[in-house]
């Protein structure tokens, strides 16, 4: 189906990404990178960002995948399906590897590592219970945020977190009520 989107070169897209601080098409933006990575890319100077992507895309298979994840994270492929042809043969190879069964298995292993890690951390946060300060310390030190918890943790574990550490602060509600009364 024709979306009517205007295609861009990688450079134009990154310019748009950098200037807007998000995908050129905010409505379809679905980040596949962590929020920390996203923040870092936002802060990076344009030249450094391009160099980073190019370096990743011309490196090892694993690095190619990382570059793809980043580009996918910022919505590049989605917005520019045909511009993938502009990539180098090596980059194209890495894209075509997506259809290879081994690649699929490797992806599953990577997902299992990430899912296991986030699940483990989230179970610990739930186990810590009402001590939210320590729960937040765990999340911070283990570099897991709400977005990752929602994406990777077991729904039951995440629900328990939503009712405890991610629950809206009662104090904030009270404060808001007081300020409205004033």
């Amino acid at each position: 189906m024709e979306t009517g989107r205007q295609e861009m070169t990688l450079d134009e897209y990154i310019d748009a990404f950098k200037s807007m601080g998000k995908s050129a098409n905010p409505n379809s933006y679905k980040p596949e990178i962590t929020s920390d990575e996203y923040k870092n890319f936002k802060k990076m100077p344009d030249s450094e960002f391009r160099e980073f992507i190019n370096k990743l895309a011309s490196g090892s298979t694993q690095d190619d995948k990382k570059a793809k994840d980043i580009l996918s994270g910022i919505g590049f492929y989605e917005a520019n399906p045909r511009k993938v042809e502009r990539f180098s043969p090596k980059q194209m190879d890495s894209i075509l590897k997506s259809d290879h069964p081994n690649h699929d298995f490797n992806r599953q292993i990577e997902t299992a590592i990430k899912t296991g890690y986030v699940q483990g951390v989230c179970e610990c946060v739930v186990a810590v219970g009402d001590d939210h300060a320590l729960g937040k310390k765990l999340l911070s030190e283990m570099q897991v945020d709400k977005y990752m918890a929602k994406k990777f943790a077991n729904p039951i574990t995440f629900k328990a977190m939503e009712q405890s550490i991610f629950a809206p602060q009662q104090e904030q509600k009270l404060e808001q009520t007081h300020s409205i009364k004033r």
């Binding site: 298995f105 299992a112 590592i113 179970e123 186990a127 283990m142």
Partner: protein
């Protein structure tokens, strides 16, 4: 590798990663002077003391 072997490997990878994260979290609690919470974490997540030491040794 058969499909069954792949499934087993994925499951083992998941558990290894989960257990590693739990042991790290428990260690953070110990370092924060909260051995009680470290114990609570290990009990809740069903990792006994010997398993804890084993995983910790693997990760260091």
């Amino acid at each position: 590798m058969s499909e069954q072997e792949e499934k087993t490997q994925i499951k083992e990878t998941f558990l290894k990663s989960r257990n590693g994260a739990i042991v790290r979290c428990a260690s953070i609690m110990v370092d924060s002077g909260r051995k009680d919470l470290a114990k609570q974490i290990l009990t809740t997540t069903q990792i006994d003391r010997s398993r804890f030491e084993e995983i910790k040794a693997q990760n260091t």
